[in-house]
Symmetry: C2
Subunit: 424 residues, 2 copies
């Protein structure tokens, strides 16, 4: 079915950018290899729900090779690509193996970053992978358990203080959901502490939450967060994070659970391309998303830095999908001897959920907030979930959660240093 | 609602024995504290389905404090009980905290054991907890991924050889399901290897699989396993297990994935009671399940050693539930000044599933095998799952798996030494 002479397109990363690129090459005379460090595509917009025990892992993740099983020209490999040799046109993986390519699409995305404060990582986990989500779930659920077992009032309070650092979409979702868990989900299940006494703090260094949205929607989001019970602190930067809590300027806040949603940095793979990067480590791509001087290499998704009409193309799922599809088409154009068209981002609007019956949406001319925005968010996210089964199961889970306030995935597995040991 | 004078019943372990004991004390004038190392009750009979990616964690696990939320006299504590001080009537936990009791029910169960070959543990994980299940899932799924990436034929074959040690119910379930995954689930998803070429070996040192069942059913189970594609080796003991495979007498079998289902040992908590134990470390309990010389301490479930009509009471879920309920009633009898009745195990029959449409059942006079036994098994397990939501979701998952041969939870998370590093 495949000819040895067909050009070899290698895609690094099975997120929205990489997967959409692979699919766009489905009926073409090329061989496609998709390499990822993990075996699954992750529906990242719902990752916070796994972290907060509302959904299970398979609800938002599906094996890449299962998604691509009918695409006969596609091979999926589990591999950790460490560097790119542009001259030899080869990738080198962590296990020493090499993968040759004729065309390369780098879609390795971004990780959360602590911007010079890497020692904060152990105390304030970020949320990018399923492993991150399980870690956060474990810390949050364990904190309530420790509070129930703790007899010292000050230490008990520290277990019931939750700080979310960063007021972007992930921070807002986490804070809103934590407040719901404390006030509703865990109600009546504890005998010694009242989970509703938990404090949830959302800390944002900038002047407002959801800064990518219009100011009016930021204000509505902050109001909805407060209504859910979140203490919103804007314009105050975190100056320290340790095992006992955080420092906000001169103020110490004792908190045993701190979550990091304050920033991401591009995948280190961008650096090995040896081309200009922006401040966040993203690759400054050409009009057609290829790399300067290397028309056979494309960068898409969160790793690509691209401006349009004076504004950066945002690091959101629709942009990554559009870029992945565009890079695939550019390769096919080049193979056919045609020039590749320039990439244009088609803005489909912004949407952020805050918590139960609370969300904001910016759809260009139309702006929604509150219940209407929440229903809209629900609809969109169900529609875009990959695979029929996930949609049905998620719908059942959400309906059940909606009526019962319950979160079915409240299972603690694994252990890590911070929650295995009691405070000194 | 609770008086400080009500007697304090502490239950260690939230499995079938401990949870049923707690429930049997619901409407009594006692204070109940249930302590467990994990936050959830686990429906252990279906744990192999989480290990083989057919079910997600929350399908078979529910938070203990959620299950007991309406039982106002019950407190749930997350804690790792390390020793029992019989004279002071106190438990000591790993974090140094202590719990006092008037009556104690020890239901801490059993762990898998390697009987003097503890160095096998790293190469042949057993299956008792959700963490174990996630580890086994990761190893099994990663093995197929490594095979796809491997170019050396011998090493590739070793990644496609799966050995299950132990022919009891867990071993039979794991082997049967692995064969189904290789032959059906992963079909058409790989480009370089054929998963159906995988070998699944079930090794049992004794003369037959499922030795607790009548001989005719063992034979039927072995025949059904072979039909599913499992190589059944009985009467041969494993003499070595290492990173490269196993030794079966003089024969070496290269296998990168080895699973342990060959035996369990009682929880070490039994030893700290300072009373006679049987060879497997279980506590030889009195007629009423109390400990000799300590009528205020009861041992139930897999940690209790009890014979009835010349046969040991088996380590199965119905026996643990009956024991838990009995111990609770014995405590209430003692509080009322009445003598406790002797425990009698009511045998409800044995049931073992083997794989798709294959099972065996021994219901006393009636013996079933094949499709009928499989439907019966399905019905029973759906009925006994805790919580309506789990039942509905599991039913949907199973129906979907039945028609599509798919297993939705094929998500690899975490990493461990053995699958993170390539073979040397």
């Amino acid at each position: 079915m495949q000819s040895e002479k067909e050009p070899y397109v290698v895609i690094v990363g099975g997120g929205f950018g990489g997967l959409w690129a692979a699919r766009a090459l489905a009926r073409s005379r090329v061989r496609v290899t998709l390499v990822d460090r993990v075996n699954h595509h992750l529906f990242q917009p719902l990752l916070y729900q796994v972290a907060t025990a509302g959904l299970s892992m398979p609800d938002i993740a599906a094996p890449l090779r299962h998604i691509l099983r009918r695409q006969r020209n596609a091979t999926v490999l589990l591999g950790d690509v460490e560097s790119i040799d542009r001259d030899a046109r080869r990738l080198r993986c962590a296990d020493g193996s090499e993968i040759a390519y004729d065309y390369l699409i780098v879609a390795s995305g971004a990780r959360h970053a602590y911007f010079g404060n890497d020692h904060w990582a152990a105390h304030a986990p970020g949320l990018k992978t399923l492993d991150d989500a399980l870690l956060i779930r474990r810390r949050v659920l364990t904190a309530f358990e420790r509070a129930e077992a703790e007899t010292d009032p000050a230490r008990r309070a520290a277990w019931l203080n939750f700080v979310v650092i960063g007021g972007g979409p992930t921070g807002v979702e986490l804070a809103g959901t934590l407040a719901e868990i404390a006030r509703h989900t865990l109600r009546r299940e504890f005998r010694r502490v009242d989970p509703a006494a938990a404090r949830v703090l959302l800390v944002e260094a900038g002047p407002r939450v959801l800064s990518a949205l219009p100011e009016s929607l930021s204000e509505k989001a902050a109001a909805q967060l407060r209504r859910l019970g979140v203490e919103v602190h804007t314009g105050r930067a975190v100056s320290a994070v340790d095992a006992d809590g955080i420092a906000l300027g001169d103020e110490r806040i004792a908190a045993r659970t701190v979550l990091w949603a304050a920033g991401v940095a591009a995948s280190p793979l961008g650096r090995s391309l040896g081309v200009p990067l922006d401040r966040a480590g993203r690759v400054l791509v050409e009009d057609d998303l290829s790399v300067p001087g290397h028309p056979e290499i494309f960068v898409v998704g969160d790793l690509a830095s691209r401006h349009q009409d004076g504004k950066p193309v945002p690091g959101v799922a629709p942009a990554a999908k559009q870029m992945g599809t565009h890079a695939a088409k550019a390769i096919l154009a080049r193979l056919a001897g045609r020039p590749a068209a320039p990439f244009r981002y088609h803005d489909v609007g912004s949407l952020a959920t805050i918590g139960r019956m609370a969300a904001v949406a910016d759809l260009g001319r139309v702006r929604l907030s509150g219940l209407v925005a929440w229903w809209f968010w629900l609809l969109i996210h169900i529609l875009f979930l990959i695979g029929f089964r996930s949609r049905l199961i998620v719908l059942i889970n959400w309906s059940w959660s909606y009526w019962t306030y319950q979160r079915h995935a409240r299972i603690i597995v694994g252990s890590d240093r911070s929650d295995a040991k009691p405070p000194a």
